[in-house]
């Protein structure tokens, strides 16, 4: 039944050898998901809000507890994503009073804004299309935080040597042939792991097989250029805090502007030649008015 187990096994078989680093996308084309893309599928109708995945994520990623004092006790109780929390379960209510749990973590966008932002490739889409962060490259400029439409990357505001923290799909577990921690512990299989195209097919199968149960749309299929984490839900996605991004990734527009202006640095080079000639001529015409310069 579970798509994720099959894929996990296949990944082990491949020995993680499918390590194809996805190069930076050029121009204004919208990239398709990489062929080896993996992801998560979260189903709001199955989640019981037990938060086991939140604890498991903490543990698997060796994050310190998010301590909070309430009354007379000290609790490990994160309320939102943060530098110590890569995964959170929230409860949302729509206008009709229907409630739904919602799992938040990195969406592993097909065309990630965070990676488009990062000056020197600390954040990049790497093997299996997972958007990963490399400490050695990060200068902690936080442009990725400004850019991410889902507000996922978090920053260690109290650290002397701060890191960017976000879900990396438990790539260290995948490398060992295991499934992501949140998937492994979920008692209801509300979140499953697998190849993106198989998850997408599974999501559509669920929607089709029980008409009326789900909103007839898989969030992440095309939203914001597509994401590798997919959602099916019984209440409207915007009520779950998922933004309406349209089908185009913001990075497509940003690249179009950047490359439209620069034309592979031909435009600035040409402008420089022209400016050089004009300044040379005009400086002669004005006369070297810096008279003291020649003194």
């Amino acid at each position: 039944m579970s798509v994720d187990r099959r894929t996990a096994l296949r990944l082990i078989a491949a020995g993680g050898a499918a390590a194809t680093t996805t190069g930076a996308v050029r121009g204004d084309e919208a990239p398709a998901p990489p062929p080896d893309a993996v992801g998560l599928l979260y189903d709001t109708t199955k989640c019981i809000g037990c938060k086991t995945c939140v604890v498991a994520c903490h543990e698997a990623n060796e994050l310190p507890p998010e301590t909070r004092e309430w009354g007379d006790g000290l609790y490990d109780a994160p309320t939102k994503l943060g530098s110590r929390t890569k995964n959170i379960i929230k409860l949302y209510r729509d206008d009709q009073g229907r409630e739904s749990y919602m799992k938040e973590q990195c969406m592993h966008c097909v065309d990630p804004s965070c990676a488009g932002a990062c000056m020197i490739g600390a954040l990049q889409k790497r093997e299996f299309g997972i958007v990963t962060w490399v400490k050695d490259r990060c200068i902690a400029c936080r442009y990725c935080q400004v850019a991410c439409p889902f507000n996922i990357p978090k920053f260690e505001w109290d650290a002397r040597d701060p890191r960017i923290v976000k879900c990396e799909l438990c790539r260290h577990l995948l490398a060992r042939g295991e499934k992501p921690a949140c998937v492994r512990v979920c008692p209801r299989e509300a979140v499953i792991f697998g190849k993106r195209d198989e998850l997408l097919a599974e999501a559509k199968r669920r929607i089709d097989s029980e008409p009326g149960r789900y909103v007839p749309k898989v969030y992440g299929e095309t939203d914001g250029g597509g994401t590798q984490v997919l959602y099916v839900s019984h209440i409207a996605f915007e009520k779950l805090g998922l933004p309406d991004l349209g089908d185009q990734a913001p990075s497509v527009r940003a690249r179009a502007v950047q490359h439209g202006l620069y034309q592979g640095f031909v435009a600035p080079a040409a402008l420089y030649v022209v400016l050089g000639a004009v300044v040379l001529r005009n400086r002669k015409r004005i006369g070297n008015t810096d008279e003291e310069d020649d003194a």
Partner: protein, 398 residues
């Protein structure tokens, strides 16, 4: 009349100057605290608003206010308006200081500045899709270019004196620089054209988090045109301040003509701004209730008023009026940048940002250092043109 620039002379450590140094000292202590305790300890920044006033003011607005050197170089060298030449050097100095301070502000703002050198030194890691990379590289290069453009001022002073190895070097360097200068000046026009527009491109990637009145693929064009207008305005502001603070002879007619150039730039900006909104079908949002349309109209009024005022001969002949309206124009450009980077940026419900006191004090410290360096340099080096009103060589202009 000649415009031989000369040092102002006079004592350095006045009372006002001590205040500036005190502010810089406080900022320095707070910066030490920031590096010891992390950014969260001294700022109001958070995961929703990861960029605050250090970026929006010190870097994005600060470099635009420091575009006087760029705007004047465009006018004098690209458009061949030689008559403005006396304004170039003081403008270059404020530009060099403004950009250098912005560089320091970036180093304080990023979490791991000890890796900044990798940006210029590791082209193999470059992400050419990142507008911020372009900004970073161009700003670094431009700071160097600005100081090279100013170098003759310092070299000449050091070249004076006996035949030592150092004076010989200073003279040779001056001659070499003079020959290379056209190509350095051309770089000094190219680099701001690139990074001031890229500062706009940076926010294109913020996508839906930036309000549609500001979010447009036209951001680079709007940022570029507005920084030139701000550059002209700041040249007028700084020249008037030099009259006030140092008793320089007013260059009112020249500044009046310059203000007309500012008017033209603003007109261009407004055509782009409204044209873009019309093309994107966002004109309706201008009349929606709420703070965004309010901010937009405030911006627009601040742009329009000085541009109209500069068309009036009475304003152009009056130094005080030129100064006041130029301040307002600079404010307009500053607000446009603040809106784009902070006030019209909304990461979603649950997030808010207000700068913390240490954060503000550090920014004030940066400004103080800038002013202090400016004063010290114009007192000791030949930057400001024209005879001093106090020197007795003045023909007093009405």
């Amino acid at each position: 009349m000649t415009h031989v620039a000369q040092p102002l002379g006079g004592p350095l450590l006045t009372r006002g100057y001590r205040v500036l140094l005190g502010m810089a000292g406080i900022a320095l202590l707070l910066i030490a605290w920031r590096f010891a305790a992390g950014l969260g300890a001294v700022t109001g920044l958070n995961d929703g608003y990861p960029w605050g006033i250090w970026i929006a003011f010190d870097v994005v607005t600060g470099t635009a206010l420091a575009c006087g050197g760029y705007a004047m170089a465009l006018l004098v060298y690209a458009l061949s308006r030689g008559e403005y030449h006396p304004l170039v050097r003081p403008a270059l100095l404020t530009s060099a200081l403004g950009y250098s301070i912005a560089g320091v502000a970036i180093a304080v703002d990023v979490g791991r500045p000890w890796f900044i050198h990798r940006i210029p030194l590791r082209p193999d890691l470059w992400n050419l899709n990142s507008a911020l990379l372009e900004v970073a590289l161009c700003v670094m290069a431009y700071v160097i270019v600005l100081w090279i453009e100013l170098a003759p001022v310092f070299l000449r002073r050091w070249a004076a004196g006996g035949e030592t190895g150092f004076t010989r070097f200073a003279r040779a360097a001056t001659r070499g620089l003079n020959r290379a200068m056209p190509f350095i000046i051309a770089l000094g026009i190219l680099l701001p054209t690139m990074h001031q527009s890229s500062l706009g491109t940076v926010m294109v990637l913020a996508g839906p988090k930036l309000h549609p009145l500001w979010q447009t693929t036209f951001l680079p064009g709007l940022f570029l045109v507005s920084c030139i207008g701000m550059g002209f305005a700041m040249v007028v502001v700084e020249s008037s301040l030099a009259v006030l603070a140092f008793g320089r002879r007013p260059e009112t007619p020249m500044l009046g003509r310059l203000s007309r150039a500012a008017s033209i730039t603003v007109a261009l900006f407004l055509v782009f701004r409204f044209g873009d909104l019309a093309v994107r079908g966002q004109l309706g949002a201008l009349f929606a209730a709420g703070r965004y349309s309010l901010l937009f109209w405030l911006e627009t009024i601040l742009f329009v008023l000085p541009a109209l005022m500069f068309l009036r001969a009475t304003v152009r002949r009056h130094l005080g009026a030129l100064f006041g309206w130029s301040c307002i124009l600079a404010l307009a450009g500053a607000l446009y940048r603040f809106d784009t980077y902070l006030l019209a940026f909304d990461p979603g419900p649950g997030w808010s940002y207000f700068p913390a006191a240490p954060e503000i004090l550090i920014t004030l410290g940066f400004v103080a250092v800038e002013v202090a360096l400016y004063v010290a340099i114009v007192k000791r080096f030949p930057i400001l043109g024209g005879p001093s009103a106090r020197s007795g060589r003045v023909e007093v202009t009405a």
